[in-house]
Protein backbone atom coordinates (compact mmCIF):
# COMPACT_ATOMS: atom_id res chain seq x y z
CA UNK A 1 0.00 0.00 0.00
CA UNK A 2 2.64 2.43 1.09
CA UNK A 3 4.79 1.38 -1.77
CA UNK A 4 2.05 2.09 -4.26
CA UNK A 5 1.59 5.55 -2.84
CA UNK A 6 5.29 6.15 -3.14
CA UNK A 7 5.13 5.04 -6.74
CA UNK A 8 2.25 7.39 -7.38
CA UNK A 9 4.20 10.25 -5.93
CA UNK A 10 7.15 9.41 -8.09
CA UNK A 11 4.92 9.39 -11.12
CA UNK A 12 3.79 12.87 -10.27
CA UNK A 13 0.15 12.14 -9.58
CA UNK A 14 -1.30 15.23 -7.91
CA UNK A 15 -2.39 14.86 -4.29
CA UNK A 16 -6.10 15.36 -4.95
CA UNK A 17 -6.03 12.55 -7.49
CA UNK A 18 -4.29 10.06 -5.19
CA UNK A 19 -7.60 8.68 -4.00
CA UNK A 20 -8.55 8.06 -7.59
CA UNK A 21 -5.50 5.95 -8.25
CA UNK A 22 -5.17 4.28 -4.85
CA UNK A 23 -5.07 0.55 -4.92
CA UNK A 24 -8.25 -1.24 -4.00
CA UNK A 25 -8.73 -4.81 -3.01
CA UNK A 26 -11.09 -6.80 -5.10
CA UNK A 27 -14.52 -7.62 -3.69
CA UNK A 28 -13.74 -11.31 -3.63
CA UNK A 29 -12.19 -12.01 -0.21
CA UNK A 30 -10.25 -15.03 -1.46
CA UNK A 31 -8.65 -13.39 -4.44
CA UNK A 32 -6.39 -10.50 -3.76
CA UNK A 33 -5.81 -8.49 -6.87
CA UNK A 34 -4.00 -5.25 -7.24
CA UNK A 35 -4.41 -2.49 -9.70
CA UNK A 36 -1.24 -1.53 -11.40
CA UNK A 37 -0.29 1.78 -12.91
CA UNK A 38 1.57 1.32 -16.14
CA UNK A 39 3.37 4.33 -17.45
CA UNK A 40 3.41 4.08 -21.24
CA UNK A 41 5.78 6.75 -22.43
CA UNK A 42 6.90 9.50 -22.63
CA UNK A 43 9.73 7.49 -24.10
CA UNK A 44 8.10 4.45 -25.58
CA UNK A 45 8.63 3.16 -29.10
CA UNK A 46 4.94 3.14 -29.96
CA UNK A 47 3.72 6.46 -28.72
CA UNK A 48 4.98 8.14 -31.91
CA UNK A 49 6.77 10.93 -30.17
CA UNK A 50 6.83 12.15 -26.64
CA UNK A 51 3.44 11.13 -25.44
CA UNK A 52 2.69 9.67 -22.06
CA UNK A 53 -0.23 7.45 -21.30
CA UNK A 54 -0.96 6.62 -17.70
CA UNK A 55 -2.80 3.32 -17.81
CA UNK A 56 -4.49 1.77 -14.82
CA UNK A 57 -4.78 -1.96 -15.28
CA UNK A 58 -6.17 -4.83 -13.28
CA UNK A 59 -4.70 -8.03 -14.58
CA UNK A 60 -4.68 -7.41 -18.29
CA UNK A 61 -7.79 -5.23 -18.38
CA UNK A 62 -7.47 -1.50 -18.75
CA UNK A 63 -9.57 0.27 -16.15
CA UNK A 64 -8.65 3.77 -17.08
CA UNK A 65 -6.25 5.64 -19.27
CA UNK A 66 -5.10 9.19 -18.98
CA UNK A 67 -3.16 10.83 -21.79
CA UNK A 68 -0.53 13.27 -20.57
CA UNK A 69 0.49 15.65 -23.31
CA UNK A 70 2.56 18.78 -23.68
CA UNK A 71 6.09 17.40 -23.91
CA UNK A 72 6.48 18.93 -27.34
CA UNK A 73 4.71 22.19 -26.60
CA UNK A 74 6.39 25.11 -28.32
CA UNK A 75 3.71 27.72 -27.99
CA UNK A 76 3.13 28.17 -31.70
CA UNK A 77 -0.13 30.03 -31.17
CA UNK A 78 1.45 32.52 -28.80
CA UNK A 79 4.55 32.94 -30.95
CA UNK A 80 2.32 33.71 -33.91
CA UNK A 81 0.94 36.79 -32.18
CA UNK A 82 4.34 38.38 -32.56
CA UNK A 83 4.91 37.41 -36.17
CA UNK A 84 3.80 38.74 -39.51
CA UNK A 85 1.56 36.44 -41.47
CA UNK A 86 4.32 35.34 -43.84
CA UNK A 87 6.57 34.62 -40.90
CA UNK A 88 4.03 32.27 -39.39
CA UNK A 89 4.20 29.92 -42.40
CA UNK A 90 7.50 28.26 -41.41
CA UNK A 91 6.08 27.70 -37.95
CA UNK A 92 3.10 25.82 -39.36
CA UNK A 93 5.58 23.40 -40.98
CA UNK A 94 6.37 22.20 -37.52
CA UNK A 95 2.84 21.46 -36.36
CA UNK A 96 2.02 18.23 -38.13
CA UNK A 97 5.48 17.62 -39.47
CA UNK A 98 4.31 14.71 -41.57
CA UNK A 99 1.95 16.91 -43.58
CA UNK A 100 3.61 20.32 -43.63
CA UNK A 101 2.23 21.28 -47.03
CA UNK A 102 -1.31 20.95 -45.75
CA UNK A 103 -0.51 23.11 -42.72
CA UNK A 104 1.07 25.73 -44.96
CA UNK A 105 -2.01 25.77 -47.08
CA UNK A 106 -4.46 25.96 -44.18
CA UNK A 107 -2.86 29.15 -42.88
CA UNK A 108 -2.45 30.78 -46.29
CA UNK A 109 -6.01 29.85 -47.20
CA UNK A 110 -7.42 31.51 -44.08
CA UNK A 111 -5.49 34.72 -44.67
CA UNK A 112 -6.40 34.71 -48.37
CA UNK A 113 -10.09 34.32 -47.51
CA UNK A 114 -9.83 37.21 -45.09
CA UNK A 115 -8.19 39.40 -47.71
CA UNK A 116 -10.37 38.16 -50.56
CA UNK A 117 -7.30 37.43 -52.69
CA UNK A 118 -7.40 36.03 -56.19
CA UNK A 119 -5.04 33.07 -56.61
CA UNK A 120 -3.47 32.45 -60.03
CA UNK A 121 -4.65 29.25 -61.73
CA UNK A 122 -1.25 27.62 -61.98
CA UNK A 123 -0.57 28.26 -58.31
CA UNK A 124 -3.85 26.59 -57.36
CA UNK A 125 -2.99 23.50 -59.36
CA UNK A 126 0.51 23.33 -57.97
CA UNK A 127 -0.95 23.61 -54.51
CA UNK A 128 -3.40 20.79 -55.11
CA UNK A 129 -0.68 18.55 -56.53
CA UNK A 130 1.69 19.05 -53.63
CA UNK A 131 -1.11 18.76 -51.08
CA UNK A 132 -2.33 15.45 -52.45
CA UNK A 133 1.22 14.13 -52.69
CA UNK A 134 1.66 15.20 -49.10
CA UNK A 135 -1.49 13.37 -48.10
CA UNK A 136 -0.14 10.24 -49.74
CA UNK A 137 3.19 10.63 -47.94
CA UNK A 138 1.43 11.10 -44.63
CA UNK A 139 -0.90 8.14 -45.12
CA UNK A 140 2.03 5.99 -46.17
CA UNK A 141 3.79 6.75 -42.95
CA UNK A 142 0.66 5.87 -41.01
CA UNK A 143 0.56 2.45 -42.65
CA UNK A 144 4.24 1.91 -41.98
CA UNK A 145 4.20 2.91 -38.35
CA UNK A 146 0.92 1.17 -37.63
CA UNK A 147 2.22 -2.12 -38.95
CA UNK A 148 5.43 -1.56 -37.04
CA UNK A 149 3.33 -1.14 -33.91
CA UNK A 150 1.65 -4.42 -34.69
CA UNK A 151 5.02 -6.08 -35.10
CA UNK A 152 5.47 -6.22 -38.86
CA UNK A 153 8.73 -4.60 -39.78
CA UNK A 154 8.84 -4.64 -43.57
CA UNK A 155 5.95 -2.27 -44.46
CA UNK A 156 7.71 0.47 -42.51
CA UNK A 157 10.75 0.16 -44.74
CA UNK A 158 8.69 -0.20 -47.90
CA UNK A 159 6.67 2.97 -47.29
CA UNK A 160 9.84 4.96 -46.90
CA UNK A 161 10.81 4.08 -50.44
CA UNK A 162 7.75 5.78 -51.92
CA UNK A 163 7.81 8.55 -49.38
CA UNK A 164 11.41 9.20 -50.34
CA UNK A 165 10.32 9.77 -53.92
CA UNK A 166 7.66 12.23 -52.83
CA UNK A 167 10.06 13.99 -50.51
CA UNK A 168 12.66 14.21 -53.26
CA UNK A 169 10.08 15.81 -55.51
CA UNK A 170 9.28 18.32 -52.77
CA UNK A 171 12.98 18.92 -52.35
CA UNK A 172 13.20 19.82 -56.01
CA UNK A 173 10.26 22.18 -55.96
CA UNK A 174 10.91 23.98 -52.69
CA UNK A 175 14.34 22.98 -51.45
CA UNK A 176 13.41 21.15 -48.27
CA UNK A 177 12.49 17.61 -47.41
CA UNK A 178 10.33 18.06 -44.34
CA UNK A 179 9.68 21.70 -43.47
CA UNK A 180 8.73 23.03 -46.84
CA UNK A 181 7.64 26.63 -46.30
CA UNK A 182 6.38 26.39 -49.88
CA UNK A 183 3.08 28.23 -49.86
CA UNK A 184 2.88 31.98 -49.72
CA UNK A 185 -0.15 34.13 -49.11
CA UNK A 186 -1.50 34.59 -52.61
CA UNK A 187 0.20 31.65 -54.25
CA UNK A 188 3.29 29.51 -53.96
CA UNK A 189 6.93 30.45 -53.69
CA UNK A 190 8.34 28.64 -56.71
CA UNK A 191 7.01 27.48 -60.00
CA UNK A 192 7.63 23.83 -60.79
CA UNK A 193 11.16 23.32 -62.12
CA UNK A 194 11.47 21.92 -65.66
CA UNK A 195 10.50 18.26 -65.81
CA UNK A 196 8.97 18.22 -62.35
CA UNK A 197 5.41 17.65 -63.53
CA UNK A 198 6.58 14.74 -65.66
CA UNK A 199 8.24 13.28 -62.62
CA UNK A 200 4.97 13.45 -60.74
CA UNK A 201 3.20 11.86 -63.69
CA UNK A 202 5.70 9.01 -63.65
CA UNK A 203 5.19 8.58 -59.93
CA UNK A 204 1.43 7.93 -60.19
CA UNK A 205 1.54 4.47 -61.87
CA UNK A 206 4.42 3.44 -59.62
CA UNK A 207 2.40 4.39 -56.56
CA UNK A 208 -0.66 2.54 -57.82
CA UNK A 209 1.40 -0.60 -58.14
CA UNK A 210 2.79 -0.18 -54.65
CA UNK A 211 -0.69 0.31 -53.17
CA UNK A 212 -1.63 -3.02 -54.68
CA UNK A 213 1.46 -4.51 -53.09
CA UNK A 214 0.43 -3.24 -49.66
CA UNK A 215 -3.01 -4.66 -50.21
CA UNK A 216 -1.45 -8.07 -50.87
CA UNK A 217 1.04 -7.82 -48.07
CA UNK A 218 -1.15 -6.56 -45.28
CA UNK A 219 -4.88 -6.59 -45.90
CA UNK A 220 -5.29 -10.33 -46.29
CA UNK A 221 -3.04 -11.34 -43.42
CA UNK A 222 -5.07 -13.28 -40.87
CA UNK A 223 -2.99 -12.13 -37.93
CA UNK A 224 -3.44 -8.52 -38.94
CA UNK A 225 -7.18 -9.04 -39.37
CA UNK A 226 -7.46 -10.67 -35.97
CA UNK A 227 -5.65 -7.82 -34.33
CA UNK A 228 -7.67 -5.03 -35.93
CA UNK A 229 -11.17 -6.31 -36.79
CA UNK A 230 -13.65 -5.16 -34.18
CA UNK A 231 -10.92 -3.55 -32.08
CA UNK A 232 -11.38 0.04 -30.98
CA UNK A 233 -14.84 0.19 -32.43
CA UNK A 234 -17.13 3.19 -32.07
CA UNK A 235 -20.17 4.53 -33.89
CA UNK A 236 -20.91 7.74 -35.75
CA UNK A 237 -22.73 9.24 -32.78
CA UNK A 238 -19.72 8.89 -30.49
CA UNK A 239 -17.44 10.19 -33.18
CA UNK A 240 -19.59 13.29 -33.69
CA UNK A 241 -19.94 13.78 -29.97
CA UNK A 242 -16.19 13.94 -29.59
CA UNK A 243 -15.82 16.16 -32.63
CA UNK A 244 -13.69 13.67 -34.56
CA UNK A 245 -12.92 14.36 -38.17
CA UNK A 246 -11.00 12.87 -41.03
CA UNK A 247 -10.57 9.13 -41.25
CA UNK A 248 -11.48 8.73 -37.60
CA UNK A 249 -14.96 9.96 -38.51
CA UNK A 250 -15.26 8.43 -41.96
CA UNK A 251 -14.44 4.96 -40.66
CA UNK A 252 -17.85 4.92 -38.97
CA UNK A 253 -19.59 5.30 -42.32
CA UNK A 254 -20.18 9.03 -42.15
CA UNK A 255 -19.04 10.53 -45.45
CA UNK A 256 -17.60 13.84 -44.31
CA UNK A 257 -14.77 15.27 -46.34
CA UNK A 258 -14.27 19.03 -46.45
CA UNK A 259 -12.84 18.77 -49.95
CA UNK A 260 -16.33 17.74 -51.03
CA UNK A 261 -18.62 19.19 -48.37
CA UNK A 262 -17.14 22.69 -48.25
CA UNK A 263 -15.00 22.83 -51.37
CA UNK A 264 -11.97 25.06 -51.04
CA UNK A 265 -9.22 25.78 -53.54
CA UNK A 266 -10.21 24.09 -56.81
CA UNK A 267 -11.38 20.76 -55.44
CA UNK A 268 -14.80 21.20 -57.06
CA UNK A 269 -13.14 20.60 -60.44
CA UNK A 270 -11.97 17.08 -59.67
CA UNK A 271 -13.73 13.78 -59.62
CA UNK A 272 -13.02 11.67 -56.59
CA UNK A 273 -14.88 9.49 -54.10
CA UNK A 274 -15.02 9.67 -50.35
CA UNK A 275 -14.27 6.15 -49.12
CA UNK A 276 -16.11 5.32 -45.90
CA UNK A 277 -15.85 2.43 -43.49
CA UNK A 278 -18.65 0.27 -42.19
CA UNK A 279 -17.70 -0.85 -38.71
CA UNK A 280 -15.59 1.97 -37.33
CA UNK A 281 -12.82 -0.32 -36.10
CA UNK A 282 -9.06 -0.21 -36.45
CA UNK A 283 -9.15 -2.27 -39.64
CA UNK A 284 -11.47 0.26 -41.32
CA UNK A 285 -9.19 3.07 -40.31
CA UNK A 286 -6.20 1.26 -41.81
CA UNK A 287 -8.05 0.37 -45.00
CA UNK A 288 -9.36 3.90 -45.51
CA UNK A 289 -5.80 5.18 -45.56
CA UNK A 290 -5.10 2.80 -48.42
CA UNK A 291 -8.26 3.81 -50.30
CA UNK A 292 -7.70 7.52 -49.77
CA UNK A 293 -4.26 7.26 -51.30
CA UNK A 294 -5.90 5.92 -54.44
CA UNK A 295 -8.31 8.85 -54.50
CA UNK A 296 -5.45 11.30 -53.98
CA UNK A 297 -3.69 9.75 -56.96
CA UNK A 298 -6.83 10.29 -59.01
CA UNK A 299 -6.85 13.96 -58.05
CA UNK A 300 -3.15 14.33 -58.87
CA UNK A 301 -3.72 12.75 -62.29
CA UNK A 302 -6.59 15.12 -63.09
CA UNK A 303 -4.68 18.13 -61.83
CA UNK A 304 -1.72 17.20 -64.03
CA UNK A 305 -4.03 17.09 -67.05
CA UNK A 306 -5.70 20.39 -66.29
CA UNK A 307 -2.77 22.52 -65.11
CA UNK A 308 -2.11 25.54 -67.38
CA UNK A 309 1.27 25.39 -69.09
CA UNK A 310 2.48 28.67 -67.74
CA UNK A 311 1.40 31.67 -65.81
CA UNK A 312 2.17 33.47 -62.60
CA UNK A 313 2.34 31.49 -59.37
CA UNK A 314 1.99 34.39 -56.97
CA UNK A 315 -1.01 36.71 -57.10
CA UNK A 316 -1.09 40.44 -56.48
CA UNK A 317 -0.39 40.70 -52.77
CA UNK A 318 0.29 43.91 -50.86
CA UNK A 319 3.87 44.14 -49.63
CA UNK A 320 2.78 44.26 -46.02
CA UNK A 321 -0.14 41.98 -45.39
CA UNK A 322 -2.69 43.54 -43.06
CA UNK A 323 -5.76 41.48 -42.37
CA UNK A 324 -8.83 43.67 -41.87
CA UNK A 325 -10.24 43.82 -38.37
CA UNK A 326 -12.39 40.82 -37.62
CA UNK A 327 -12.42 37.12 -36.94
CA UNK A 328 -11.78 34.53 -39.60
CA UNK A 329 -11.87 30.78 -39.66
CA UNK A 330 -11.42 28.31 -42.41
CA UNK A 331 -10.78 24.63 -42.25
CA UNK A 332 -9.33 22.24 -44.76
CA UNK A 333 -9.27 18.49 -44.95
CA UNK A 334 -5.90 17.73 -43.46
CA UNK A 335 -4.27 14.34 -43.48
CA UNK A 336 -5.71 13.61 -40.05
CA UNK A 337 -8.96 15.51 -40.10
CA UNK A 338 -10.25 19.03 -40.16
CA UNK A 339 -7.31 21.36 -39.89
CA UNK A 340 -8.45 24.90 -39.25
CA UNK A 341 -6.87 28.25 -38.51
CA UNK A 342 -8.85 30.82 -36.58
CA UNK A 343 -7.49 34.33 -36.82
CA UNK A 344 -8.57 37.29 -34.75
CA UNK A 345 -7.18 40.43 -36.31
CA UNK A 346 -7.19 44.00 -35.11
CA UNK A 347 -6.18 45.30 -38.50
CA UNK A 348 -2.45 45.10 -37.93
CA UNK A 349 0.12 43.05 -39.84
CA UNK A 350 0.22 40.49 -37.05
CA UNK A 351 -2.68 38.43 -35.76
CA UNK A 352 -4.14 39.47 -32.44
CA UNK A 353 -4.80 35.83 -31.68
CA UNK A 354 -4.26 32.68 -33.67
CA UNK A 355 -6.04 29.47 -32.74
CA UNK A 356 -5.33 26.25 -34.53
CA UNK A 357 -7.90 23.51 -34.72
CA UNK A 358 -5.57 20.58 -34.54
CA UNK A 359 -7.19 17.35 -35.75
CA UNK A 360 -4.78 15.09 -33.86
CA UNK A 361 -5.54 16.84 -30.61
CA UNK A 362 -9.28 16.51 -31.07
CA UNK A 363 -9.07 12.90 -32.20
CA UNK A 364 -6.95 12.04 -29.19
CA UNK A 365 -9.78 12.94 -26.81
CA UNK A 366 -11.55 9.72 -27.67
CA UNK A 367 -8.62 7.56 -26.59
CA UNK A 368 -9.47 7.02 -22.88
CA UNK A 369 -13.02 6.09 -23.86
CA UNK A 370 -11.75 3.62 -26.44
CA UNK A 371 -9.23 2.04 -24.10
CA UNK A 372 -11.48 1.56 -21.07
CA UNK A 373 -12.30 -2.10 -20.56
CA UNK A 374 -9.98 -3.29 -23.30
CA UNK A 375 -7.29 -5.89 -22.96
CA UNK A 376 -3.88 -4.30 -22.56
CA UNK A 377 -2.72 -6.20 -25.62
CA UNK A 378 -5.00 -3.98 -27.70
CA UNK A 379 -3.57 -0.77 -26.32
CA UNK A 380 -0.98 -0.26 -29.02
CA UNK A 381 -3.32 -1.32 -31.83
CA UNK A 382 -5.88 1.26 -30.73
CA UNK A 383 -3.42 4.04 -30.02
CA UNK A 384 -1.71 3.53 -33.36
CA UNK A 385 -4.95 3.64 -35.34
CA UNK A 386 -6.04 6.96 -33.82
CA UNK A 387 -3.07 8.33 -35.76
CA UNK A 388 -1.76 11.24 -33.76
CA UNK A 389 1.25 13.38 -34.50
CA UNK A 390 2.63 14.86 -31.33
CA UNK A 391 3.91 18.00 -32.99
CA UNK A 392 0.31 18.79 -33.72
CA UNK A 393 -1.21 17.60 -30.44
CA UNK A 394 1.15 19.69 -28.36
CA UNK A 395 1.64 22.48 -30.92
Amino acid sequence: MAQTEETLERLGVPADKLEHHRLRLDDDPDVRTEEMLLNVGPQHPSTHGVFRLLVKIRGETILDAEPVIGYLHRGTEKLAEDLQYTQIIPYTDRLDYLAAMLNNYALCHTVEEALGLEIPERAEYLRVIVMELQRIASHLLFIGTYLLDLGAMSPFLYVFQERERIVQMFNKICGARLTYNYMRIGGVKWDAPPGWLDEVRAFVPFMKERIKMYDDLITGNEIFLNRTRGIGQYDTETALKYGLSGINLRCTGFAWDLRRKKPYSIYDRFEFDIPVGTRGDCFDRYYLHLLEMQQSLRIVEQALDQIPDSGPVLGKVPKLIRVPKGEYYSGIEGARGELGFYIVSDGKDKPYRLKIRKPSFVNLQLLPELLRGQNIANLIAILGAVDIVLGEVDA
Binding site: P90, G175, A176, P193, G220
Partner: protein, 149 residues
Protein backbone atom coordinates in the same frame (compact mmCIF):
# COMPACT_ATOMS: atom_id res chain seq x y z
CA UNK B 1 -7.87 -18.61 -44.86
CA UNK B 2 -4.34 -18.42 -46.25
CA UNK B 3 -4.16 -14.72 -47.00
CA UNK B 4 -0.77 -14.49 -45.36
CA UNK B 5 0.73 -16.59 -48.17
CA UNK B 6 0.22 -13.62 -50.50
CA UNK B 7 2.19 -11.52 -48.07
CA UNK B 8 4.99 -14.08 -48.03
CA UNK B 9 5.05 -13.85 -51.82
CA UNK B 10 5.39 -10.07 -51.64
CA UNK B 11 8.36 -10.15 -49.28
CA UNK B 12 10.10 -12.86 -51.31
CA UNK B 13 9.61 -10.91 -54.52
CA UNK B 14 11.45 -7.99 -52.90
CA UNK B 15 14.51 -10.13 -52.21
CA UNK B 16 16.28 -9.75 -55.58
CA UNK B 17 15.20 -6.14 -56.15
CA UNK B 18 17.68 -3.33 -56.41
CA UNK B 19 18.53 -1.94 -52.99
CA UNK B 20 17.73 1.66 -52.21
CA UNK B 21 20.31 2.31 -49.50
CA UNK B 22 22.44 5.38 -50.06
CA UNK B 23 25.93 4.76 -48.70
CA UNK B 24 26.20 8.07 -46.89
CA UNK B 25 28.81 9.43 -46.09
CA UNK B 26 30.77 7.47 -48.74
CA UNK B 27 28.23 8.63 -51.29
CA UNK B 28 26.80 12.08 -50.76
CA UNK B 29 23.19 12.78 -51.62
CA UNK B 30 22.66 14.99 -54.61
CA UNK B 31 20.79 18.10 -53.69
CA UNK B 32 18.68 19.97 -56.21
CA UNK B 33 19.43 23.58 -57.05
CA UNK B 34 16.75 24.94 -54.73
CA UNK B 35 17.98 23.00 -51.74
CA UNK B 36 18.00 25.06 -48.59
CA UNK B 37 21.17 24.30 -46.72
CA UNK B 38 23.31 26.60 -44.61
CA UNK B 39 23.49 30.13 -45.97
CA UNK B 40 26.22 31.58 -48.11
CA UNK B 41 26.90 35.28 -48.14
CA UNK B 42 28.50 37.64 -50.62
CA UNK B 43 29.62 40.73 -48.66
CA UNK B 44 30.32 42.81 -51.77
CA UNK B 45 26.66 42.74 -52.76
CA UNK B 46 25.16 43.57 -49.40
CA UNK B 47 23.64 47.06 -49.09
CA UNK B 48 22.91 46.71 -45.36
CA UNK B 49 19.17 47.14 -45.83
CA UNK B 50 18.47 44.94 -42.81
CA UNK B 51 15.46 43.31 -44.51
CA UNK B 52 16.77 39.79 -43.86
CA UNK B 53 17.10 40.46 -40.16
CA UNK B 54 13.58 41.88 -40.03
CA UNK B 55 11.85 39.06 -41.91
CA UNK B 56 13.62 36.32 -39.97
CA UNK B 57 10.92 34.55 -37.93
CA UNK B 58 13.39 33.52 -35.25
CA UNK B 59 15.52 36.69 -35.27
CA UNK B 60 18.70 34.75 -35.79
CA UNK B 61 20.41 37.24 -38.11
CA UNK B 62 22.29 40.22 -36.77
CA UNK B 63 24.30 42.59 -38.92
CA UNK B 64 25.95 45.96 -38.86
CA UNK B 65 27.47 48.30 -41.46
CA UNK B 66 29.10 51.68 -41.90
CA UNK B 67 29.17 54.30 -44.62
CA UNK B 68 32.36 54.43 -46.63
CA UNK B 69 33.92 57.49 -48.27
CA UNK B 70 31.38 57.33 -51.14
CA UNK B 71 28.48 57.46 -48.68
CA UNK B 72 27.71 53.84 -49.58
CA UNK B 73 26.78 51.42 -46.86
CA UNK B 74 29.27 48.59 -46.43
CA UNK B 75 28.64 45.51 -44.35
CA UNK B 76 30.90 45.10 -41.31
CA UNK B 77 29.50 42.13 -39.45
CA UNK B 78 26.98 39.56 -40.47
CA UNK B 79 26.17 36.75 -38.06
CA UNK B 80 23.65 33.95 -38.24
CA UNK B 81 22.94 32.00 -35.11
CA UNK B 82 22.34 28.45 -36.27
CA UNK B 83 21.11 27.47 -32.85
CA UNK B 84 17.79 28.94 -33.82
CA UNK B 85 17.83 29.32 -37.59
CA UNK B 86 15.06 27.19 -39.06
CA UNK B 87 16.29 27.40 -42.67
CA UNK B 88 12.99 28.85 -43.83
CA UNK B 89 14.55 30.73 -46.73
CA UNK B 90 12.65 33.97 -46.05
CA UNK B 91 15.87 36.01 -45.77
CA UNK B 92 17.02 35.04 -49.26
CA UNK B 93 13.54 35.78 -50.54
CA UNK B 94 13.57 39.40 -49.39
CA UNK B 95 17.20 40.16 -50.18
CA UNK B 96 17.14 42.75 -52.99
CA UNK B 97 20.70 42.09 -54.18
CA UNK B 98 20.86 38.34 -53.61
CA UNK B 99 23.81 38.69 -51.32
CA UNK B 100 22.44 36.14 -48.86
CA UNK B 101 21.68 32.80 -50.48
CA UNK B 102 21.25 29.18 -49.54
CA UNK B 103 23.97 26.62 -50.22
CA UNK B 104 23.93 22.85 -50.14
CA UNK B 105 25.95 22.54 -46.96
CA UNK B 106 23.78 20.53 -44.63
CA UNK B 107 25.98 18.84 -42.04
CA UNK B 108 25.44 21.06 -39.05
CA UNK B 109 26.18 18.71 -36.16
CA UNK B 110 28.80 20.01 -33.78
CA UNK B 111 30.13 19.46 -30.29
CA UNK B 112 29.71 23.03 -29.18
CA UNK B 113 27.02 25.63 -29.56
CA UNK B 114 29.68 28.20 -30.28
CA UNK B 115 30.42 26.43 -33.57
CA UNK B 116 26.88 27.18 -34.68
CA UNK B 117 27.38 30.90 -34.47
CA UNK B 118 28.43 31.59 -38.04
CA UNK B 119 29.97 34.89 -38.96
CA UNK B 120 30.49 36.70 -42.24
CA UNK B 121 33.82 35.02 -42.97
CA UNK B 122 32.45 31.56 -42.54
CA UNK B 123 29.47 32.40 -44.70
CA UNK B 124 31.68 33.85 -47.41
CA UNK B 125 33.92 30.80 -47.29
CA UNK B 126 30.78 28.77 -47.75
CA UNK B 127 29.96 30.85 -50.82
CA UNK B 128 33.37 30.15 -52.29
CA UNK B 129 32.95 26.48 -51.51
CA UNK B 130 29.60 26.48 -53.24
CA UNK B 131 30.97 28.23 -56.31
CA UNK B 132 33.75 25.68 -56.58
CA UNK B 133 31.34 22.78 -56.23
CA UNK B 134 28.70 24.10 -58.63
CA UNK B 135 30.28 26.42 -61.19
CA UNK B 136 27.26 25.83 -63.45
CA UNK B 137 24.79 27.13 -60.90
CA UNK B 138 26.37 30.48 -60.19
CA UNK B 139 24.77 32.87 -62.63
CA UNK B 140 27.34 34.75 -64.78
CA UNK B 141 25.57 38.03 -64.04
CA UNK B 142 26.00 37.45 -60.37
CA UNK B 143 29.70 36.79 -60.78
CA UNK B 144 30.04 39.98 -62.78
CA UNK B 145 28.21 41.95 -60.16
CA UNK B 146 30.46 40.51 -57.53
CA UNK B 147 33.47 41.47 -59.64
CA UNK B 148 32.25 45.06 -60.05
CA UNK B 149 31.66 45.53 -56.37
Amino acid sequence: MFGFLKGLGVTLSQLPRKKVTLQYPDVMPEWPERFRGVHRFIPELCIVCNQCARICPTSCISLSGTRDENKKLRIDTYDINFDICILCDLCTEVCPTESILMSDTFELASYSRDDLYLDMHWLYENELRYERAHPDRVAPAQLEKAGEA
